[in-house]
Symmetry: C2
Subunit: 335 residues, 2 copies
DNA sequence: CTGAAAGCGCTTACAG
DNA sequence: CTGAAAGCGCTTACAG
């Protein structure tokens, strides 16, 4: 522990009190002369304030807990990177927790999060029980849900407009002349899965069509691939809306590979998210773009507002995204 | 700040001293009776020790800083998730920093890392200057390089055996009957890029062949795609070893898409990493597997050893991985 | 503006 | 085994 220089060391070298040192680093008032003395002493010594000590006394750790479930879905690493950058600009950093589980594991995760005295929590697509919600509230720790809503609660959340987005896809598919349209949903235990499914079904009806069949893809590649086979072989689908891009890739692989089916000539596929891979040559997936950047900014804005003002309202923000048309689905004819 | 219960609150309720409370939670000796009293009081109050306060006094934050550059290469989110899990079992958590930059930005990142009093740092494929290395050493913060070596220094690092791995690929390609073999390297400013290139060239020679041409792919998709076009069109390559899977996907997309070239009938492609997508139907990429799990365990073991014992040697660990044969490259004939 | 002092929530010698 | 006390490195009223 050689390198440990404290504010006392700096004070001594600068010939001022330790309080003075603290003041210049915490941005409190100090005369120009003091500032200069302190800064040059600090530079000479390589001093930097200890955030833990500061956090202990201010009650602000400047740490945001991020809990995320699906790092294999490229949407999340992408969001993570942006979240990290936007937060960094505001002086916050991310303590990351990955958890596939639900229930007990999530609970432990929250315990640990709180042990570190995080200033706020972002939960990306993980289900939060009411108990956990209450515990955060009791501890005064703001929580915002990223890309996954929760019914009932007054939880802060930012999602894309899943209902509308799915409806856009429905309309696009119907106009594209598809007759037998199926849906492989996201996990129906998630609001996201439910909303996209519902928006899609309503959209189909609004366009004068109907949903032939729907299977829960559980956000899993293998489940989705199997579902695609069932939809095509048993239900004769000529178009499938898949609940997210991650599953859509698996569907395309399975259709083209094992089943020798041409996409989009035999079956059209549409996804949801517009992750970077959707634009790759192997897939060229038509999909609904989730505006990650705007979602990230909205999330950070909401969270920081709640941190700075405990009475800030828990916003529920819905962000609209465009349909990105590529080649994985037949396109409506111009006329 | 309602929910803030401290060890004093617990002590009071349990009818013991605050020291006693601390002892049972820090695992120091305490009688069974005291333990019981404290635990039940703590449970009733929902008490959990404040890690920041504990860290301040023990000098152990239980935070590991992870700095990572390429979250869009699936290798890293995957490694991140495993790192997080393995570390969690040991009571550590990850404060994550993303940085594309080199130089000044990395320096700032390290400043911030140290502000949080991290117990150790894992740098995943980011270049660390000697100055930074020295600063970590001075501060007594162990640093281990993950998946990227550094020449000269005595830095702890864990990488796969890039030299040998690339040599295996060379041998495989020559045996596969390829005549004009090219290489799109990883960024040649990185040791990883250099080693794979060198191992490949030597391997080719050892197998009685030679490298037709090599282009730096910079770990970028667009650069790699362009390089592939040059290698095929101008140098007549019938096989290309691409420095990592992430670029290899771009190469396959470009060859098959824009250039209407069949992989592997016209050109064989081999990658490096074996990220999960390599197994996907759209690519079925033949590639050298980096044993992420073993690399992660080795990284954590080394880092924790250095944290626990400041005199622990800075291990330089190299882990061997197998060639995973799929369909993106012609396979040597049995005989 | 500035310094002395209290205190954030803990751990850990030190006596008993 | 247990409690009183000092101290980790800071911030922030409080006097001057």
């Amino acid at each position: 522990m050689k390198g440990k220089v404290t504010s006392f060391d700096v004070a001594q070298r600068a010939g001022v009190s330790q309080s003075a040192v603290s003041r210049v680093f915490s941005g409190a008032s100090a005369s120009k002369a003091t500032q200069d003395k302190v800064r040059s002493a600090a530079d000479a010594l390589g001093y930097r304030p200890n955030r833990l000590a500061r956090g202990l006394i201010t009650g602000r750790s400047k740490i945001i807990g991020l809990v995320v479930a699906y790092l294999d879905n490229q949407f999340y690493p992408d969001a993570l990177e942006r979240l990290s950058n936007v937060l960094k600009e505001q002086g916050y950093h991310i303590l990351i927790f990955t958890t596939k589980g639900r229930g007990e594991e999530v609970k432990q995760t929250f315990d640990q999060l709180m042990d570190y005295q995080v200033d706020g929590i972002i939960a990306a697509s993980v289900g939060i029980s009411d108990e956990l919600t209450n515990r955060c509230a009791a501890a005064g720790i703001p929580l915002v849900l990223f890309n996954r809503g929760q019914r009932g609660g007054a939880l802060a959340q930012v999602t894309s407009d899943n209902l509308q987005g799915a409806a856009k896809i429905a309309s696009f598919l119907v106009k594209g002349g598809h007759r037998r349209i199926g849906h492989i949903s996201g996990w129906m235990g998630s609001i996201t899965g439910q909303d996209r499914a519902q928006g899609f079904a309503s959209g189909l009806q609004a366009a004068g069509s109907e949903l032939v069949h729907q299977i829960d893809g559980m956000y899993r590649r293998d489940t989705a691939a199997e579902a695609a086979e069932t939809l095509v072989s048993e239900h004769g689908c000529d178009a499938i809306f898949v609940g997210n891009d991650h599953m859509a890739f698996a569907v395309m692989d399975h259709l083209r590979g094992a089943m020798k089916i041409s996409v989009p000539n035999d079956v059209s596929i549409v996804g949801y998210d517009d992750v970077s891979m959707a634009a790759w040559g192997a897939y060229e997936l038509t999909t609904l773009r989730q505006p990650v950047n705007r979602m990230v900014h909205a999330t950070v804005d909401t969270l920081l507002a709640m941190i700075e003002d405990a009475d800030a309202s828990a916003d529920q923000i819905t962000i609209d995204g465009p349909l990105v048309v590529r080649t994985s689905a037949k396109v409506p004819k111009e006329n």
